[in-house]
């Protein structure tokens, strides 16, 4: 029934469009009557994010790390209209500004976590909430993680208390291709779209190594269940890219034919191949879970073979072994300060991974992949910085902050909007109680688009999620 009706309506629409396009078609000899050109809506779940209300804020007497490697002692930041208006030593508070004397305190760009499963593996982590891995088959590029995001996860608030202003949600790493990621502003919303970072490109999660082969290979010894091995993993990626190329060609041909006046039938939409083709078209960024240096080395070649870009390797515990190659190919490494050893591919993790990647001139990012880690990424950067210095890598705190803001912003394609404290950028900033490289320092105030999303000293700016209402611990200090 439904099929018949929709076919009818398609025909009707086709006729109408054909009538409108008659003069165009008539110009081309031998042209057929064409149906409407079918174009895929690339943004079917548009962001409905709107900033919270904000005023004019003037933070003064602060130690400012600008996020791109600079530092201003005794500096000021002026925020107006949700944007950074000015930063420096010699700026004054305009009329009507809320002035914050930040003497002894530090100001940084907000922390951006490129690897989070908040909302998709939320608290409480009960079975009903397990929405992060569409394990059904090895390639599920058709799954979009935003459709799993539960905005009521209290973890978002804990992250805000830790100075996180934006984050990328990724599907889990069971699959060769896990699906699309989504980048969020860390501001609570009623629906998932309320959190979507306006204008941020989509990402796509892929995974190397142990996870896919364990998930698909070890369950059933059936030929239907692949991959069983690392070489099976690579066969899987390459076949997927090859299929995506064929899909790209089919759509290109449709477009070509249509422009030539032919009443071409568009290819059937394949949501899986559509996302993969989006990567090949350069519109979707690849974030690939990959631990071992040799796995990364293989993937750099697969990337070149199919002409796409791996934006970042996630976890990347062995990036220090090939940091020069990663610098050359311009691939970021998103890393932990010290998680390692829990599986074979994490066995060679070292504490100096992040500073060694930095030292090689490659893009280093501190990430969490964890609902606790995301709450103190500043401490993760501090540990990595200290370990690097002890190994002779001379890095300043202001340089190290790039691992938390500018580099993640670049890897998410949002560095034109956030990641540094510069005039014109979104006022996503954190006022710290002191030096954020100390374990004793906490985020006093976290701002997103100039609005206070968390204030440690103001209970009215400490959001409570729906789930937390009426439960033990509601509204408590966390």
């Amino acid at each position: 029934m439904r099929t018949a009706r929709s076919r009818t309506s398609l025909v009707r629409r086709g006729l109408a469009v054909a009538a409108m396009g008659l003069s165009l078609a008539a110009c081309q000899p031998g042209a057929e009557e064409q149906g409407a050109f079918v174009e895929i809506n690339k943004d079917p779940f548009p962001s409905s994010y709107t900033p919270l209300e904000s005023g004019i804020t003037f933070i003064t007497n602060a130690t400012i790390l600008d996020g791109k490697g600079g530092r201003i002692d005794g500096g000021s930041v002026l925020v107006e209209g949700g944007k950074i208006k000015a930063v420096g030593k010699d700026i004054a508070a305009p009329e009507g500004a809320t002035v914050i004397n930040a003497e002894g305190r530090w100001v940084t760009p907000g922390i951006i976590d490129v690897h989070s499963h908040l909302g998709v593996y939320p608290s409480p982590g009960v079975q009903s909430h397990s929405d992060g891995n569409e394990v059904g088959e090895p390639v599920t590029a058709d799954a979009w993680v935003e459709h799993s995001n539960w905005p009521q996860d209290g973890g978002f608030i804990r992250a805000a208390a830790g100075g996180v202003t934006a984050l990328q949600l990724l599907p889990g790493s069971a699959n060769l291709v896990g699906g699309r990621s989504v980048t969020l502003k860390n501001v609570p919303g009623r629906v998932a779209q309320d959190m979507k970072f306006p204008g941020a490109p989509y990402g796509m999660k892929m995974a190397c190594g142990e996870n896919p082969k364990r998930v698909y290979g070890s369950g059933k010894n059936s030929p239907e269940f692949r991959p069983h091995t690392r070489m099976g993993n690579v066969a899987g990626y390459r076949q997927a890219w090859s299929d995506a190329q064929a899909y790209q060609r089919a759509w290109a041909k449709y477009e070509r034919d249509y422009k030539a006046g032919i009443d071409a039938t568009p290819p059937a939409r394949d949501l899986n191949l559509e996302t993969l083709a989006g990567v090949l078209d350069g519109e979707i960024l690849v974030h690939m879970h990959c631990y071992r240096a040799d796995d990364m080395g293989t993937m750099l070649d697969v990337m070149k073979e199919f002409g796409y870009k791996i934006t970042s390797f996630q976890h990347a515990v062995e990036s220090y072994k090939i940091a020069d190659k990663l610098a050359e190919d311009g691939v970021c490494s998103a890393m932990w300060a010290d998680w390692h050893g829990f599986k074979m591919e994490a066995y060679d993790g070292i504490r100096e991974n992040i500073p060694f990647v930095h030292k090689a001139g490659a893009c280093a990012i501190v990430h969490s992949d964890d609902a606790y880690g995301i709450q103190r990424l500043n401490q993760e950067a501090a540990k990595a910085l200290a370990d690097g210095r002890k190994a002779g890598v001379d890095i300043s705190k202001e340089e190290a902050w790039q691992w938390l803001s500018l580099n993640p912003a670049k890897s998410l394609g949002i560095a034109d909007k956030v990641g540094t404290i510069e005039p014109g950028k979104d006022a996503d900033i954190v006022l710290w109680s002191g030096d954020p490289f100390s374990v004793y320092t906490k985020a006093d105030v976290t701002f997103v688009d100039g609005a206070v999303i968390f204030d440690r000293n103001d209970p009215s700016r400490q959001p409570v999620m729906d789930f937390e209402l009426g439960q033990p611990g509601e509204g408590d200090v966390k």
Partner: protein, 420 residues
């Protein structure tokens, strides 16, 4: 009096310890914290002799024949202790060969002992000790039932690392255990109470005596329960929910046994009751997420609140591979309101008492094992690390598998396998 007792206990233990050829060392010039986070001694001269702390004095002379370690401008503490790990029982926990901490098919949970599973050659012991953690409780993560064997205390260097083979009897009473053991808390508690009643001294032993000709069945678990009821070891109960913790307090009263709560997400909500019952709490102070319906009340302020109520607190590390991060956990407890001294106590003197090794470890007092760490700053700070680590008087080189990898790849050679 107590010092004499301590000295006597320590000398007995010295026979078991490795330090026969330990050198004489003087650590000089540092700021020492001799009693956990307290007992501050400026310009301290710490003498180490025969594997033990010989003396700690301010500005004291260094006797002839002592090697001097200059700790000027540095902080000196007792080596830290992580109060719940699987160190030596697991190497690579996921798909990396056997994980001896996971005795999932072991039916006689209470009888399990660490001794037979412990691997002193694990790479995680050097990784951990070079960051100033010199002692750890190690035990099993699972068995087939709710009894999780007897955890041990280890020193992280030396020939005989297991310093207390039977430190606690471990019992899992959280939501997961209820699901596994009968599908309901009611079933779990029924099984546990029945077992404890049956194991009580002067209980129902006579049945066996009636069958005189029959050899009594060997039961390794019985030895564990005998230790528990003799007061030699506490029952370490992993439990999260307030209501369950109140039942654990009742359990202690009913059976007159020593009890320690571990994990304890909502323990702070019954802090006064725990203090009154003399039940210490071992916890990870970073926990502040409602991970399940057992832990809705969890907060990062828990350690501070428990301490303020008079509960003895010790700390868990994030996980076994990151046992070395337990000082960071303590630092975060301070950030959430716990006094610094109390947080250092929770890494030293408190676990020493809770796990029954206070006679030989936990403070820098004469006669104690010389677990001494020289730090390049505040040991709870994330950018601080040790410059020197002594365990039972032996200085351990600051080398691990990780540091070897670091040194091999620092300059990205073409074929690092040829680089020494």
């Amino acid at each position: 009096m107590s010092i004499m007792k301590t000295l006597m206990g320590a000398s007995l233990l010295a026979m078991a310890a490795a330090g026969a050829n330990a050198e004489d060392v003087a650590i000089t010039g540092g700021t020492a914290f001799t009693m956990g986070g307290k007992g501050k001694v400026e310009n301290a001269t710490i003498l180490i002799h025969d594997g033990k702390v010989q003396s700690v004095t301010s500005g004291g002379d260094v006797p002839a024949g002592y090697r001097t370690v200059d700790a000027s401008g540095k902080w000196v503490t007792a080596g830290f202790m992580a109060s719940g790990t699987e160190l030596g029982l697991t190497e690579v926990s996921l798909s990396g060969g056997i994980n001896d901490a996971r005795a999932s098919d072991a039916k006689n949970g209470a009888g399990l002992e660490v001794t037979y599973a412990f691997n002193p050659a694990t790479t995680f012991i050097p990784e951990t000790r070079i960051e100033g953690v010199t002692r750890a409780v190690t035990g099993f993560s699972s068995t087939k039932d709710m009894w999780r064997g007897q955890s041990a205390v280890i020193a992280l260097a030396g020939d005989n690392m297991i310093v207390k083979e039977h430190a606690v009897l471990s019992l899992d009473m959280d939501e997961g255990s209820a699901e596994k053991n009968g599908g309901s808390r009611a079933a779990l508690w029924d099984t546990v109470i029945t077992k404890l009643e049956e194991s009580r001294p002067n209980g129902d032993d006579k049945k066996d005596d009636d069958k005189k000709d029959k050899k009594p069945k060997y039961d390794s678990a019985k030895a564990a329960f005998d230790r528990l009821f003799a007061g030699e070891i506490p029952l370490l109960v992993e439990v999260e929910r307030k209501a369950d913790i109140l039942n654990v307090i009742k359990l202690k009263e009913r059976f007159g046994i020593k009890v320690v709560v571990t994990s304890g997400a909502e323990a702070w909500m019954v802090a006064d009751e725990l203090a009154a019952a003399g039940i210490p709490v071992v916890l990870n102070p970073l926990r502040n997420l409602a991970e399940d319906f057992d832990s809705l009340g969890t907060t990062g302020a828990a350690a501070a609140r428990l301490h303020a109520a008079g509960v003895k607190v010790a700390f868990l590390p994030p996980d076994t591979n990151n046992t070395r991060l337990v000082p960071q956990n303590a630092g975060n407890a301070v950030a959430m309101g716990m006094p610094w001294e109390a947080a250092v106590d929770a890494l030293t003197v408190n676990p020493a008492e809770i796990f029954g090794i206070a006679d030989s470890y936990g403070t820098l007092e004469a006669g104690k094992d010389a677990d001494v760490v020289v730090w390049d700053g505040d040991p709870l700070e994330v950018m601080t690390s040790p410059d020197a680590v002594f365990i039972r008087g032996e200085e351990v080189p600051l080398v691990s598998r990780q540091t070897k990898l670091r040194d091999r790849y620092i300059d990205l050679p073409r074929s690092p396998a040829y680089v020494k």
